[in-house]
Amino acid sequence: MSVLLAQPLAAGHPGFLSPSGVEIVFVLVGIVTLGAALVTVATRQLVHAALWLVVALGGIAVEYLLLTAEFIAWVQVLIYVGSVVVLILFGLMLTKAPIGRSPDADSGNRWIALAVSLAAATTLVTVVVDAFRSTWINVQEPTGPGSGSSEVTGTALFRHWVLPFEVLSVLLLAALVGAIVLSKRNKAGER
């Protein structure tokens, strides 16, 4: 979401009053993505929520594409639509998600959740807008700095951002080990 809101401001820097076709498409896809995301959390039908999540994640992938970040876009589809959503659907099938409305698909925490998500969105939008205020991506010839080709992304990731990258992989490893430990302990408890 934050990327969506930041883009018209950032890309509009050279000519804000005459938006190009890409910028208009960007905003339209962003609206669809936002709508799908809202339906995802608002619907009472569990599996429909997972399927609307596909639309929202796919919309974000399209936004990446429009920002010339082809590599990031396909990785987004591969990881989130292809694996995370499949995992969610797997879980929903295992727990026999009913067809139709789930009466208990509601939470007393929703107002707190709304406040948290609003706070997170505000923070992200502020940070992203502030960081990329003067960055200009040339969508016609995405070759220079600021474009998102695999080469540029790879260079940035492994030259300037290696440390955060490695920290993230350690975090994921810790999560993996934690998951295994938790599942082992449950089994021992049952016996």
Partner: protein
């Protein structure tokens, strides 16, 4: 690229998409028939009963389109389209001939094809859940479990080729391909093809649609055209997997007189691999669900990691 060029390319992809899966389907019927000595319909149209395919298509179109009472209508009806369309999109990025013989050269082609192929699985999952049928649900569960197990080795094997070539673009990989990559990437090729078979739920990995256990898995409740779309998605999947394996591991259009006959070599390699897929169906027994999982995690993933290590070592030493 002018408008005419774009139109011709899109038309070529569309024709390939409509023609090749049917060709593979017909070949499967005939190859299986002759391998098992059960020849089936041989008279329609004359030569080996080729027109039976047309008759089957007409039959599918005539059948009543039934949606079960308890089903989730919209998800149920949307599922076949979601299973089929990704394979059409994948064909756009597969190079068939040297020098611009690809509908659209993509910078991150490998990731594009693997990502979009993974989306097609959602169709089976949606069908499996929305049918309101226990067999369908079991089929959907098995599909999901299988996809999660085999996505990783497939990605790793493809990553090995990308490492070897130093590029993620499919035409770029073919541009630097040499014959000695065949033995170098052999392990990766086997892993990729096997994982691809499992992702397509083709025998011996067809536990998700095992007809003797769970009727037809996620597709149990489908009839008529929607069922035909699922079948077509399976054959389109065979075409895409064979073409991708040919491009990544067998050198695609490389061969004698590649400049003029490149497309022929590509078609030949794809066809041979597709024949292998069919051959496996008539010659291998179905793996059990636990055997499928064990093969992925204890054989394919380590083999794929070994291939990546090998690729890295050779790449650095050379």
């Amino acid at each position: 690229m002018d408008a005419l060029d774009v139109t011709v390319r899109i038309l070529a992809v569309l024709v390939a998409f409509l023609l090749l899966p049917l060709l593979v389907g017909q070949t499967e019927h005939k190859v299986m028939a002759h391998m098992q000595g059960r020849v089936g319909p041989m008279y329609a149209g004359g030569f080996h009963g080729w027109a039976q395919l047309v008759a089957d298509g007409v039959k599918f179109a005539q059948k009543e389109d039934i949606v079960p009472d308890g089903a989730d209508r919209r998800v149920f009806q949307l599922a076949p389209a979601l299973a089929l369309i990704p394979y059409l999109l994948v064909l756009v990025a597969i190079p068939v001939a040297p020098g611009g013989g690809v509908a659209q050269a993509l910078d991150a082609g490998i990731f594009f094809v693997l990502a979009v192929m993974g989306v097609g699985i959602l169709g089976s999952l949606m069908g499996g859940w929305a049918s309101a049928n226990k067999f369908s649900l079991l089929g959907g569960l098995r599909t999901a479990a299988q996809l999660m197990a085999y996505e990783l080795p497939m990605l790793l094997a493809a990553a090995s080729v990308a490492m070897a070539a130093g590029t993620l673009s499919l035409p770029g990989i073919l541009g630097v391909w040499e014959w000695w990559w065949l033995p170098w990437q052999l392990v990766g090729a086997v892993v990729f093809f096997t994982a691809g078979l499992a992702e397509l739920q083709r025998p011996p990995f067809d536990a998700p649609i095992a007809d003797s256990e769970i009727i037809f898995g996620a597709y149990t409740e489908y009839t008529g055209l929607r069922f035909a779309l699922f079948l077509l998605a399976e054959y389109a999947g065979i075409v895409v997997l064979s073409a991708l394996t040919a491009v990544l591991f067998l050198g695609g259009w490389h061969g004698p007189a590649a400049d003029g006959l490149g497309w022929l070599w590509m078609l030949l390699k794809t066809g041979l691999l597709a024949f292998g897929v069919i051959w496996l169906r008539v010659s291998y027994p179905r793996l059990r669900e636990d055997q499928i999982q064990r093969l992925a995690w204890t054989a394919l993933v380590p083999l794929a990691l070994f291939q990546i290590a090998l690729t890295g070592v050779v790449k650095v030493v050379m």
